[in-house]
């Protein structure tokens, strides 16, 4: 037996040496392959491809083509230990494989580029694929917009402000009526013409569908056609932000004939049209030559749906895809060290927070909530546990909002103050349940550290990691103390009123804090009458301050987007709301 174990170990060692030898030889080849041209390509791409770290990434005017991005700062081009995964020989082999490989024709085209006359196809790996049959009212609209298939009357600039898209201009006629002047010469992918009738059909569908998009927020829309290129949109209640609302992904306008099917066919007006869709596998688009704007530089694109983060990282490292989203923290080093890949990171409008039961239990007492708030160290969570890949949250809304808290409100001796407060709390009220769910992997880690931070000041915290659905139901039944969850605050548009209403008003449909304060509701009620951005932001600031003053939950960290793009991808623009990806300007160098 001993001899057989020795033989087994010898075999395993031989296998490991073989793998190491293969890796080593790649590295050696790569070292000699660090040519000037590769460096130039990398630096050129760094200046032209989408990259925004921390700050919002694009400066906007009212035309979709004029967007510029700041350089990405997260990629260390001076790293001496860069590991070239793919040298020329590998690429040559890859191309041979593609020739043999029918399915890989599209993939091969991407790197072959225009020199060889082969079609230029961008290959994208996405974490979330469409699972609602590409229904425009569902989250599938996100993929349709990213793929450059669908456009709305209005689009959202990187600043969050509405700018023209299929509508050239708009005007508020009265409290409930907006008039939109439509762009002429626009054609749908089915060949039909875009006009006021198409807008009427699209908005009627989106208002009456069983599961209307989040961005409608319970609002009903009706239309009145003035002429072929002028349409009035009438809202069921006064809505000062209708143009912004119409910029959300699900408010895209499809060809009237598309609505004959259930769900509607995705025949939009964008620079790319769908040629093939296989659920749980891929979406293929090709250039739409009759596009009203600049015709796309690429011939097409393939979006592959790869739910596993490791798969996406491996695929981009192996040059099987050009762009990947959702790079996991564990893969950042390996992906970032590849000189042919650029990491694109920016803050996302998403916050992981402890939602507190302000209605029942010990946390109904503001002093207990204050102690919890003081005990939690957001900076330690973001910079320590999460290695700087998340940003500390000083409020539910991030610091990109000028009206939101901009710095840590906790005093230097917050821990001591928290401990002193806990001393004064009835011992029975020091026992706290902390719930979270496992589908977002960082949450369990955050919960464990939060548990330790709370216990350090004298709380007795029990942690439960479960399924989101049942935990949500128990939360709505006031059974929770603290529920840690991650929540997007600008899912569809950069206006805080929707989240303030749904999450914090007495009648809010997603009020996990079970918070009810007439003063707060009054501030939110005023938002429906505030038209100018300044007026709205003043109200948002008041609402945010009131939530902070009353310790309504504890915001912990803001998430960051982590994309990776191969350096030969040019003109890639990923805005802070992750709306766009494939545009007319994207090309392969």
């Amino acid at each position: 037996m001993q001899r057989s174990i020795m033989r087994l170990l010898a075999l395993l060692a031989a296998l490991a040496l073989l793998a190491a030898a293969c890796g080593g030889s790649e590295g050696d080849d790569a070292a000699s392959d660090a040519s000037d041209s590769a460096s130039e390509a990398a630096s050129e791409s760094a200046s032209s491809s989408s990259s925004s770290s921390e700050s919002s990434s694009a400066e906007e005017d009212d035309h979709s083509d004029d967007e510029e991005h700041d350089d990405e700062d997260g990629h260390d081009h001076d790293d001496e230990e860069k590991d070239h995964e793919h040298d020329d020989e590998d690429e040559h082999e890859d191309e041979e494989h593609r020739d043999e490989d029918e399915h890989s024709d599209d993939e091969g085209a991407a790197t072959a580029a225009a020199d060889s006359g082969e079609p230029s196809i961008l290959r994208v790996g996405l974490q979330f694929g469409p699972d609602s049959g590409l229904a425009i009212e569902s989250d599938d609209a996100s993929v349709l917009v990213k793929a450059g298939v669908v456009e709305g009357l209005v689009r959202s600039a990187a600043s969050g402000q509405p700018v023209p898209a299929l509508a050239e201009s708009w005007e508020r006629i009265d409290d409930i009526t907006w008039e939109f002047v439509l762009r002429s010469g626009v054609t749908f992918h089915d060949g039909s013409a875009f006009d006021a009738g198409a807008v009427e059909t699209a908005l009627a569908y989106i208002t009456n569908v069983a599961s209307p998009p989040r961005s409608l927020g319970g609002l009903a829309l009706s239309t009145e056609i003035v002429d072929d290129l002028t349409v009035r949109v009438i809202t069921s209640d006064p809505d000062p932000i209708l143009p912004l609302r119409l910029s959300s992904r699900s408010m895209g306008i499809l060809a009237p004939a598309a609505y004959d099917s259930t769900p509607p066919d995705a025949w939009g007006t964008g620079p790319f049209a769908i040629t093939d869709f296989t659920p749980a596998d891929s979406l293929t688009v090709e250039r739409f030559d009759a596009y009203w704007g600049d015709v796309a530089q690429l011939d097409g694109a393939v979006f592959r749906f790869l739910p596993d983060a490791g798969s996406r990282a491996a695929a981009i490292r192996a040059d099987e895809i050009d762009v990947a989203d959702g790079i996991a923290l564990a893969d950042l080093d390996a992906v970032g060290e590849d000189p042919d890949i650029e990491l694109i990171r920016f803050s996302l409008p998403r916050t992981a927070s402890l939602y507190a039961n302000t209605a029942e239990g010990s946390l109904a007492d503001p002093a207990v909530r204050q102690a919890v708030s003081l005990a939690i160290d957001q900076v330690a969570l973001a910079d320590g546990l999460l290695e700087g890949q998340f940003a500390p949250a000083f409020g539910y809304f991030g610091t990109e909002n000028a009206w939101a808290p901009q710095s840590d409100p906790d005093p230097a001796d917050a821990i001591e103050q928290a401990a002193a407060l806990v001393e004064q709390i009835d011992p029975d009220d020091r026992s706290i349940q902390l719930w979270t769910y496992g589908s977002r992997p960082e949450l369990a880690d955050i919960a464990t550290v939060a548990q330790a931070q709370l216990q350090a000041v004298g709380f007795d915290v029990s942690l439960e990691v479960g399924e989101y659905g049942p935990l949500e139901e128990r939360t709505f039944n006031n059974e929770h103390d603290l529920f840690l969850l991650s929540r997007g605050y600008y899912f569809d548009m950069a206006d805080a009123a929707a989240v303030f209403t749904s999450d914090f008003t007495c009648e809010g449909g997603y009020n996990l804090n079970r918070y009810c304060n007439e003063a707060f509701d009054a501030i939110v009620a005023e938002m429906s009458g505030a038209i100018t951005p300044e007026d709205r932001q003043a109200l948002f600031g008041q609402a945010a301050q009131l939530l902070a003053d009353e310790y309504v939950g504890v915001p912990l960290v803001h998430d960051r987007a982590r994309y990776a793009a191969r350096t030969d991808v040019q003109g890639l623009v990923i805005d802070p709301f992750e709306l766009t990806l494939l545009t007319s300007q994207v090309s392969l160098g």
């Binding site: 057989s4 399915h103 769900p263 790869l306 798969s311 449909g509």
Partner: protein, 297 residues
């Protein structure tokens, strides 16, 4: 049995206490705010307002006529999606089990024929190590070594012969390790049987007896085991399918359960169970052909 499974699948969301209207809304629009009007509209769209048994009866009636219904999430027919996923998983699982039976048979016979000598010890040691490696460890390891470092095959995806290599290997390694030990054990038992001893006593060469007679009998056990694995792997290959980006039945079932997409889940489960039953019957028939004692009985 199929009827029982269909009823179980139908009741699963009820057992879990899942509000189907709410789950459907969330599956279509993540983090949507569920107002009652929307939930009522979805309930009406899905026919959730009818009593449970009435809904089940309606479902069974449709299935009998070949209509598996529409997905509650995508509102598109379930049957073509389940069929496509079944072909994908069936290809992978069929090849994996076939490969496992072929390799394990050779390894098992070699091990038994060399009992307690070095080939037996090496095969047994490898089997014990590999049977203990879980697929969520094995699959990324294969991706790293075979696809990323050696560049022999794509890291993920579906559509060509090369895309088969990683999933088939990942799914076959566990069964190879297990089956080879089963074949070895069966083989050792078989070699002790009177009819084998008789054959040897009649002067037949040991090599011929081992490879022609004993092997055939020993395969019966591994075929039975393989048929059991087919049904399990068909719906249970979800980890390999997710990691390798393969649109198979395991991933379809996983997504359907997550989204409470009852029609999709029911159809997928029925297919997996049906295939399991059919493969079981086929394996029984093959066993009878291969096993002289069975035929005599």
């Amino acid at each position: 049995m199929l009827l029982a499974f269909s009823f179980f699948a139908f009741l699963l969301p009820e057992f879990q206490g899942v509000d189907q209207a709410r789950a459907t809304l969330y599956a279509r629009s993540e983090e949507a705010v569920p107002d009652q009007e929307t939930l009522d509209a979805i309930s009406e769209e899905l026919g959730l307002d009818d009593p449970l048994l009435q809904r089940y009866g309606r479902y069974l009636g449709d299935v009998v006529t070949g209509d598996f219904g529409d997905s509650t999430i995508s509102r598109t027919p379930v049957a073509p999606q389940v069929w496509r996923a079944t072909v994908v998983s069936g290809t992978i699982v069929g090849l994996a089990i076939g490969l496992a039976v072929a390799i394990a048979s050779v390894l098992g016979v070699v091990a038994a024929a060399n009992e307690n000598r070095w080939p037996d010890r090496v095969i047994t040691a490898f089997s014990r190590v590999l049977v203990a490696v879980p697929i969520h460890v094995l699959t990324p390891l294969l991706v790293y070594v075979v696809a990323l470092r050696l560049g022999l095959v794509p890291t993920s995806g579906w559509g060509t012969a090369k895309h088969l290599v990683l999933p088939v290997t990942a799914l076959a390694i566990g069964p190879i390790a297990l089956f080879s030990q089963v074949v070895r054990s069966e083989m050792l038992d078989t070699l002790e049987q009177p009819y084998i001893r008789t054959a040897l006593a009649k002067g037949l060469r040991r090599r011929r007896v081992v490879w022609l007679h004993a092997t055939r009998v020993s395969l019966v056990g591994v075929l039975t085991l393989g048929s059991l694995f087919v049904a399990g792997l068909l719906g249970g290959a979800v980890i390999a399918e997710v990691i390798l980006g393969i649109p198979g039945l395991g991933r379809l079932l996983h997504d359907a359960v997550k989204a409470s997409d009852v029609p999709m889940f029911q159809a997928g489960l029925l297919v997996a169970v049906t295939v399991g039953i059919l493969v079981g019957l086929l394996s029984d028939a093959l066993s009878r052909l291969l096993s002289p004692p069975e035929r005599e009985r």
